[in-house]
């Protein structure tokens, strides 16, 4: 009985007292906003980089852009995201008072773009050269072949890998607390710093991440099933 009353007290002090659950709710909101916009930045920039790299691989054109893209990939994939976040906050925007959510979206988006780019490129490269030739024989130019024939097939192939990247991104945003942005993890930390109780806040935070990732996985598997329906093979 003693155990349960103690546990009840801890539940109360962790979540109810002083409306501490609000830290988790606000943090969750920030995490979702940052992740959502970072995914958008990552996907747009990532596709752009991938097309540049794949075009160079296939046709040998876009030499200079390919060179820039390669530098970008090397630098971004070669440094930890938390260091990139701190550099954007404390170095690039040193004397500009910029919105922290914007900084986080930029850091995580730019970071994710590098990984998305390589995933998409591998998808494009996995499509048989015959498909390019088929496009050409239908009178489509390179860009239209890419958009209408290659990318739709590539996306279906890389969907699991892309979903994986989004899951990683969602969890990676947990370092946003370094720039005093109150995301879900930091929200839990704030509760922890007020109650000095590690068990419940950390468990709650972990559980919320887990639920979000499971939800995301479920959505992707549905999407995968729908896309494979259109596949006659």
């Amino acid at each position: 009985m003693n155990f349960f009353t103690q546990f009840g007290d801890k539940l109360y002090s962790t979540f109810i007292e002083d409306d501490r659950w609000m830290y988790l709710a606000d943090g969750l909101k920030t995490t979702l906003i940052v992740t959502f916009f970072a995914v958008i930045v990552g996907v747009i920039l990532g596709f752009l980089l991938a097309v540049i790299r794949a075009t160079h691989d296939k046709t040998g054109r876009l030499k200079f852009l390919n060179f820039l893209a390669k530098i970008y990939l090397t630098v971004i994939r070669g440094t930890p995201v938390v260091v990139q976040l701190l550099i954007i906050y404390f170095v690039i925007f040193a004397s500009i008072n910029v919105d922290k959510i914007f900084v986080a979206v930029l850091a995580f988006g730019l970071n994710s773009a590098a990984y998305v780019a390589e995933i998409v490129r591998s998808g494009i490269m996995s499509i048989d050269n015959g498909q390019f030739e088929a496009g050409a024989s239908l009178g489509l130019n390179y860009t239209r072949t890419m958009i209408h024939i290659i990318l739709p097939q590539a996306i279906r192939n890389i969907l699991p890998a892309l979903a994986n990247e989004f899951i990683v991104l969602l969890k990676e945003t947990s370092v946003a607390g370094y720039i005093a942005l109150t995301d879900l993890t930091k929200g839990g930390d704030i509760i922890r710093s007020a109650t000095y109780e590690a068990f419940l806040p950390l468990l709650a935070v972990a559980l919320i991440y887990l639920i979000m990732v499971m939800l995301l996985s479920w959505l992707v598997s549905r999407l995968e099933r729908r896309l494979s329906k259109s596949d006659r093979g």
Binding site: V91, A94, S95, I96, A180, S193, A194, Y196, E197, A198
Partner: protein, 259 residues
């Protein structure tokens, strides 16, 4: 190679331009009353964070490190920083664009935290502290780190064989002059004091560096025997750990940019 170089040069130039444009806003906080509605930086888990939370309409930004909060203040990202007085002096000394406001908050006492129920250890440390206070060792240690005569010389433990095992101390080496990293080693008043305590107890000191808000949890879960990190005694903390007698008096102060 040449291309890479010129590109790097161009990129760094861009970064510098970005850094240079936009100036740091002028200081708007001249007393504690001015804090209302302002953005206040602090370190998560410190008493400064608790005080900042009590300020009306203020936006509180909890950084993981006190130094990060000070950096944000320098760059105009926050209007003021609330932090313990001694670290504040060190930060201001190193940044000539910052100043400490003259009106401090209430006084508080630093003490050593130990696991609840482990009164045997608590009592031993408490007695050792009393001894160090009486024979002047503590005052001497402090004089090496605070004041005009400070020479930042660490306490040298007596070379005894430590028969009573190890004492693990959890701290956060971001809090000069109490604890900070110096040449790969954690130094400061707290470390020196604990070395002296260990001399009395005939134990070996092991220092564990961690995030400030993890210290109480580390002591509570038995990962560390004591928490010594300029911890002031607060009712919330006393719910989870026990404290020895105080060993230093501190105040929270407000750091702002110079006018």
């Amino acid at each position: 190679m040449k291309k890479t170089l010129s590109l790097t040069a161009a990129l760094s130039l861009l970064a510098v331009t970005l850094t240079a444009c936009g100036s740091v806003p002028a200081n708007t906080v001249h007393s504690a009353d001015d804090l209302v509605g302002k953005t206040i930086g602090c370190q998560l888990g410190t008493t400064g964070y608790i005080f900042a939370g009590d300020v009306e309409d203020a936006t509180v930004e909890p950084y993981n490190k006190g130094a990060d909060a000070v950096q944000a203040l320098k760059q105009g990202k926050v209007d003021a920083v609330i932090i313990d007085s001694e670290p504040a002096k060190v930060f201001v000394e190193k940044n000539d664009t910052l100043q400490i406001l003259p009106d401090p908050f209430v006084e508080e006492e630093y003490a050593i935290a130990y696991k609840k129920g482990n009164d045997e250890l608590g009592e031993k440390i408490d007695n050792a502290l009393t001894q160090l206070k009486e024979d002047g060792t503590l005052a001497e240690i402090t004089s090496h780190w605070i004041g005009d005569e400070a020479d930042y010389v660490s306490y040298v433990p007596e070379d005894t064989t430590n028969t009573n095992g190890t004492l693990v101390m959890a701290t956060n080496a971001e809090f000069p002059p109490y604890e900070s990293m110096e040449g790969g080693e954690i130094v400061g008043i707290d470390v020196d004091m604990m070395k002296a305590v260990c001399d009395v107890l005939d134990m070996e000191l092991v220092v564990e560096n961690m995030e400030f808000d993890s210290i109480i949890a580390a002591v509570d879960s038995g990962k560390a025997d004591v928490g010594v990190a300029g911890l002031s005694v607060t009712p919330d903390r006393e719910k989870n750990v026990s404290f020895t007698q105080g060993y230093a008096v501190s105040t929270q102060v407000i750091i702002v940019r110079k006018d």
